[in-house]
């Protein structure tokens, strides 16, 4: 019985060329033609159930490729087709066209029904992100249960964002790429009615004039004014 860490000799596989060897282009040569790059992006996006970022595409494609341009071509090619190239945050994925959902009953994934508290909390996080727990509670006027947040995190719809630079450095919540994917949103900017809500001032975290029922949140609320606007900075 030999140790598995036996010398290189035996372990070396000699009978199949490494995958790289089949790669048609070498980095020394010019990048593949755009049509070919488009095929590559097509293959990669098709293969993955998860959205893939431009960066990831670039890492997987031969050197010198322009995944962004190839993607733009691909997107155009699939316009109006049964599957679409959709943007999910800063990533891309193939998804079936929304109007054909009725054909896919068999594939329907049953989504756990969320409680009203969870749905509202999710919406508040999406529209006000990054948002602290205290801010969520101020908006809903009721304490947010631990279970609600846990459930949303577990579903990978929300995650922790940066800490707020206010006393106590409270943690903030933001929505995830998976959230965008699930709801077919290109970005959090595309949330339905976001512009109207902002125009109506309903996304402002207006500080309560002293003595409001939620005074403990004032500190946060003041600073939170930036709210969703932060989203547009980065």
């Amino acid at each position: 019985m030999q140790e598995p860490e036996e010398p290189a000799e035996q372990t070396q596989v000699a009978d199949s060329p490494g995958p790289r060897d089949r790669r048609p282009m070498d980095s020394l040569f010019a990048a593949p033609p755009m049509v070919e790059q488009e095929r590559m992006v097509e293959a990669i996006l098709f293969a993955s159930a998860e959205p893939v970022t431009i960066k990831e595409l670039g890492e997987r494609m031969p050197h010198g490729c322009d995944p962004a341009e190839a993607l733009a071509h691909l997107r155009k090619r699939y316009e109006g087709r049964g599957v679409q190239v959709v943007r999910v945050g800063d990533a891309w994925a193939f998804r079936t066209a929304g109007d054909l959902g009725y054909l896919m009953q068999r594939e329907t994934v049953e989504v756990r029904k969320l409680s009203r508290a969870a749905v509202e909390t999710l919406a508040i996080i999406a529209y006000h992100q990054p948002v602290t727990r205290a801010e969520i509670e101020e908006i809903r006027g009721v304490a947010v249960s631990r279970g609600t947040v846990d459930q949303l995190i577990e579903m990978d719809w929300i995650r922790f964002g940066r800490r707020r630079m206010t006393p106590g450095r409270p943690v903030t919540f933001v929505v995830t790429q998976n959230f965008l994917d699930h709801f077919g949103l290109e970005s959090a900017r595309d949330l339905p009615g976001l512009a109207e809500l902002r125009a109506a001032g309903l996304l402002d975290n207006r500080p309560s004039p002293i003595g409001g029922p939620n005074e403990e949140d004032d500190a946060d609320a003041l600073e939170a004014g930036e709210g969703q606007s932060e989203l547009f900075e980065d």
Partner: protein, 286 residues
């Protein structure tokens, strides 16, 4: 129940609503939720609701709940106290000497909170009504996962190569470094050897005749054997087994068995060591 509210005539619908509220207090997610629900009974844009009216509604709700001995959570009562305060502010003419926000400011903020909560609920509903992944649109059913290919790249340096070659060509000399013991004659070995031989040394003999065979050619071995033999001699002299003498500095050292040797430890002081006073140890050092 609603009829003991003379100053605020309520419509039938309002009364039904109010009753429903009392019965169904558990169904509300806190005072703000309840207030929002009450505000809706005003059937106006939330921006135009009468906060005063709302405060009255809420306070009468709390009164009724108390009358019905329904336990209200603390925050319902905190809200009631705050609304009572707000109501007084709204009803009394503003006192110019008083600090702090006016009743209108407070009322406006409450209206804002209600409107915002309402807006968030609508947004939530719109969100949940969107086409959703796995329900209305779908990801690839047979994703082709990334295959992990472990590629091992072997490397070697020119030094490896040359040392490898040297290893083969000098197979006999090339070996991992260890302390060379094969050219060392230890004192233990020398003692063992001399213990066996000393019994036959009745007369003075040169110490060199006790050197092990084969250790006199190689200078390295010779040095080691000489030192060990000399040290062993000293040990045996100390034990009273032999006598040593040296005629002069650098003169040969001679040994012989001590006559009454072998009588055990009691004799230790009987060992005789006669050496020239100056640097006797040179011999052994080298």
């Amino acid at each position: 129940m609603a009829d003991d509210e003379p100053e605020l005539p309520l419509s039938v619908a309002d009364r039904v609503a109010a009753e429903a509220l009392v019965v169904d207090v558990e169904g509300f997610e806190g005072p703000l939720d309840l207030l929002l629900n009450m505000a809706r009974t005003q059937k106006v844009d939330l921006r135009q609701i009468s906060v005063l009216e709302l405060a009255r509604q809420y306070l009468s709700f709390v009164e009724k709940a108390k009358a019905l001995r329904i336990e209200l959570a603390a925050d319902y009562l905190v809200m009631a106290a705050w609304l009572a305060f707000l109501k007084s502010r709204l009803l009394l003419p503003p006192d110019p000497t008083e600090e702090g926000p006016s009743g209108e400011d407070l009322a406006a903020h409450l209206a804002f909170q209600l409107e915002r909560l309402q807006a968030m609920r609508e947004a939530a509903a719109r969100l949940m009504a969107r086409d959703r992944l796995g329900k209305d649109f779908f990801a690839r059913g047979i994703p082709e996962g990334m295959e992990r290919v472990r590629k091992v790249v072997y490397t070697a340096t020119l030094l490896d190569l040359m040392q490898g070659y040297a290893r083969i060509r000098t197979k006999d000399e090339f070996r991992p470094f260890v302390m060379d013991r094969d050219k060392v004659f230890t004192m233990e070995q020398a003692l063992e050897r001399m213990r066996g031989m000393i019994g036959f040394a009745g007369s003075w003999t040169d110490i060199s005749s006790y050197m092990p065979e084969g250790w006199t050619e190689d200078p390295v071995m010779w040095r080691s054997a000489t030192a060990a033999t000399f040290a062993a001699s000293l040990q045996l002299a100390k034990e009273g087994r032999l006598e040593m003498r040296q005629a002069a500095t650098f003169a040969p050292i001679e040994l012989r068995q001590k006559k009454d040797a072998g009588q055990g430890a009691g004799q230790t002081s009987g060992g005789v060591l006669r050496v020239a006073p100056e640097a006797p140890r040179r011999e052994g050092q080298d």
